[in-house]
Amino acid sequence: MTDLALPAPRRPRRAARQPSGLDLWGRLVVGAGVALAIYLIAAPLAMLLATAFRGPVEFLPFEPGARWTLGNVVAVYTDPALYERVIPDTLVFVTGSVALSFTIGFGLAWLVERTDLPGREVWFTLILFPLLMPTIVLGIAWIFLMAPKAGWLNLGLRALLGIAGEGPINVFSMGGLIVCQALASVPFVFILLTAALRTMNPGLEEASGASGARPITTFRRVTVPVLLPGILAPFILVCLVTLEQFELPSILGVPAKVSIFSYRILYELNPADGLPNYGGAAAVALPFLVLGIALLALYNRAVRRAERFVTVTGKAYVQRRLRLGRWRVPALLFAGAYVVIGALLPAAILVWASLLGYVPPSAAALKEASLAAYWRLLSDPTFWLAVRNTLIVAGASALIVSVLGGLVGWTLLRLSFPGRTLLDVFSFMSIGIPSVIAGLAVMLLYLTVPIGIYGTFVILIVAYSYRLAISTRLAKAGLMQLHRELEEASAASGARWMSTQARIVLPLLRAPLFSSFVLLFIVGVREFTLPLILHSPDNVVLSVLLWKLFQNGDAPQAAALATFILVLVVPVVALARRGLMRAGG
């Protein structure tokens, strides 16, 4: 039961208040938060917009010699292949993988948050596994499983079905790419949706059921409409994130001649000679911003009347879970199938590779297994420095972004002021900025501003903290489900704004803020583009170390490090989840 611990009534203060109960301290905190958020996003966003129109490629965007030009945009958007192949392929890829990841992700989130599925905490952690694994590891694992000639699943299926030749599954195809990208995106969808599902008051569903509506009708007429902001926000975020993906497309899609728009970014940054074409990469990224603004407008239109989505009011409610009954076994099979293909088999391949490299599994090979890669890793002082830096950078940036996202989300929803739409757009735009452009912006900024953070881990915290779109959207979607009467009642009882936020709003926003923190922490642990651009011997992080080991062709040590990252992050996620469950009841 949610305990709304309102403070004892006090005499109302004389100070004039906004309807939100914002007092002087509140104004200071909100103002500082919003200003910091703008500061963190402004540099990369300005850099992206400007870089797209700076050239020629022989110069960095702000070097003497560079000038304003439309050349980058013209080069990218007058290429006929863009319209003949790249855009059609991209549309099929994004539509297919978002539809599939959303179907699987929503199903899993609903089972974990709204039903009595056994072992929910274990499922929660297992479902996040693919998000913890480097994409290159997932790609390799799925090649081992689903490659048309030698993939183990194919070998098994061919033996079972008595068919000869290749297949029947081909990971190197548009279909294979869609399935793999969807499997990789499910944890992202899952964690965003669990936040919305967890905050939702089940009373409406129960009332529908009590009125004789069938479960499917309740789901269609009550659950989905009430969750609209909570579903739409992840949907938009997943669309944009999928549109930006180039890792799996370059591992699995290019062999099948699948041309994805975002692959162009990688292509522009890897020229045959000279400097990376930052202008070309930024020009390719521009549509992400345009599409982001369009999707944001659609989102705001769909959720214009926030009151329609309020499910948590001053009245207490009990979190009840739907009994699965005879659907328990199919539900377990559904969750199990995803976890096996998306998490356990890739994890097993990872552990195997750490002991033996990429040798295919066999009893004979097992005799050669060695822990040498782990010992080499653990005896390397750089590794321990990287562990420390990773935990600090990922943890601090996730905390900063979650708190700022919460403040910006609250500001957007509870306050009315000129420029509110601009702030909304601004905070959302961060998702359309490629890491490489953000890294360049931060590097140039802190080389110019002599505050001594260049080359330290602090610059990484600052660089990672521009990604406010996810936390702002999550906080906003969560706040939409909280009626402002809770805050008004608190203010009317004499509580200060800070006290109201700390004692009423924050506890009720635990789920979205927790999801935001976990997601950003994991993204922070995995992030390698930003630390690679900004790294020095002192601020090395695990992802950079991992990337180097892969590049060096040291498969066992790279796999050992990736395994260590799993071992490091999984308990953090599990403990945080347990803490949340205890606190949330």
């Binding site: 070097e63 591992i251 400097l275 490299g357």
Partner: protein, 342 residues
């Protein structure tokens, strides 16, 4: 025949000259003085194009020149990074190690300083950019194969043999390296033939071009040949126990790498000593031991290099004046190979 004899004689002469020079250079008073100054500076920072290329250096350098600590940093984007840092007045790097194409942008901005490479037994034809870059090693493009399923006799002797039906559905390759190989081949073949080769390779052979590690594709058994790799990788794979060997098809395609000393290096003496050592015979030997990289230039005394030149096959080297044309073709080749254009 006469050409072969001339090449062998030239090679021998260069080898003798280099051996004499390299035997002496560490004992010369100028080098001893430089070493003393380097020790006083205490450390030196080197940036290279990736970790593997520079991580072996600290131990190997310390074995020969104790008392000077080497701080290595490997990163693909060292060129923009060093340009941005220099523009901001930050000078933390002493030695910059990269390919000719990677060095060109920093030379254009006059960041490196000329070095007297002869101090280290390095002849003038092993330098570039008016003495600003000393050559250290090459990469050579190869075809690697799984020795359990293929033999040396099955392998192509020339790059265009890869289009033969016998290699259909057997090959994998790197999305990063293959367009570079095609653009280099255009120097010998001409643009049309090189692009036609790319079209047929991508369209007819079933080659699996990917950014995944190719050793994983070979190990899984999905493919048995990795075409267009650089020699260092199959050497590394074999050292890790993989049953893999390679051949070098004709024309032989080389990539050139070398060291530069930055004009505003914070440790100028240590920087010169390190860069000079890297370009010297001793440095090259240490590099091969530490990272399997070899000097394949004409005049190299390495047996693999001598075999190449003795065979009389055409060799395509990195040349500064050809880089622009190659870059233009690279874009077209990459479009074709990745399916973004026909």
């Amino acid at each position: 025949m006469t050409r072969c004899i001339r090449l062998v004689l030239l090679g021998l002469a260069a080898t003798i000259a280099a051996t004499q020079a390299s035997a002496d250079w560490r004992q010369s008073p100028a080098v001893k003085e430089l070493y003393e100054k380097a020790k006083a500076e205490g450390e030196v920072t080197i940036w290279g194009t990736n970790g593997r290329e520079v991580d072996w250096i600290p131990a190997a350098f310390a074995a020969e020149w104790p008392g000077v600590k080497v701080n290595p940093l490997g990163d693909n984007d060292i060129a923009p990074k060093i340009i941005a840092e220099t523009r901001a007045g930050r000078h933390a790097v002493d030695v910059y190690w990269s390919s000719i194409t990677g060095v060109a942008p920093i030379v254009q901005r006059e960041l490196p300083t000329p070095v007297d490479w002869s101090m280290f037994g390095v002849s003038g034809d092993n330098t570039a950019f008016d003495g600003r870059m000393g050559f250290t090693n090459n990469i050579v493009y190869v075809v690697a194969y799984d020795t359990r399923k293929m033999s040396d006799a099955d392998m192509p002797k020339t790059w265009d043999e890869l289009l033969e039906p016998k290699y259909k559905d057997k090959m994998t390759g790197s999305l990063f390296l293959m367009p570079r190989l095609v653009s280099a081949l255009s120097i010998k073949w001409g643009q049309d033939k090189a692009l036609d080769f790319a079209r047929k390779l991508a369209g007819d052979t079933g080659i699996l071009l990917t950014r995944a590690p190719r050793e994983s594709i070979l190990q899984s058994g999905e493919r048995v040949i990795a075409a267009g790799e650089v020699d260092t990788l199959p050497k590394l794979w074999a050292a890790g126990g993989m049953p893999v060997k390679y051949v070098i098809p004709a024309p032989v395609v080389l990539g050139q790498f070398g060291a530069t000393v930055l004009a505003k290096a914070p440790h100028p003496s240590a920087a010169r000593l390190l860069a000079g050592w890297l370009a010297s015979k001793e440095g090259k030997t240490a590099r091969e031991k530490g990272n399997f990289e070899v000097d394949y230039r004409p005049g190299s005394d390495h047996p693999d290099a001598q075999r190449i030149y003795a065979s009389g096959v055409a060799v395509i080297e990195d040349r500064v004046q050809e880089m622009e044309a190659r870059a233009a073709l690279y874009k077209k080749a990459a479009d074709i190979l990745t399916g973004q254009a026909r």
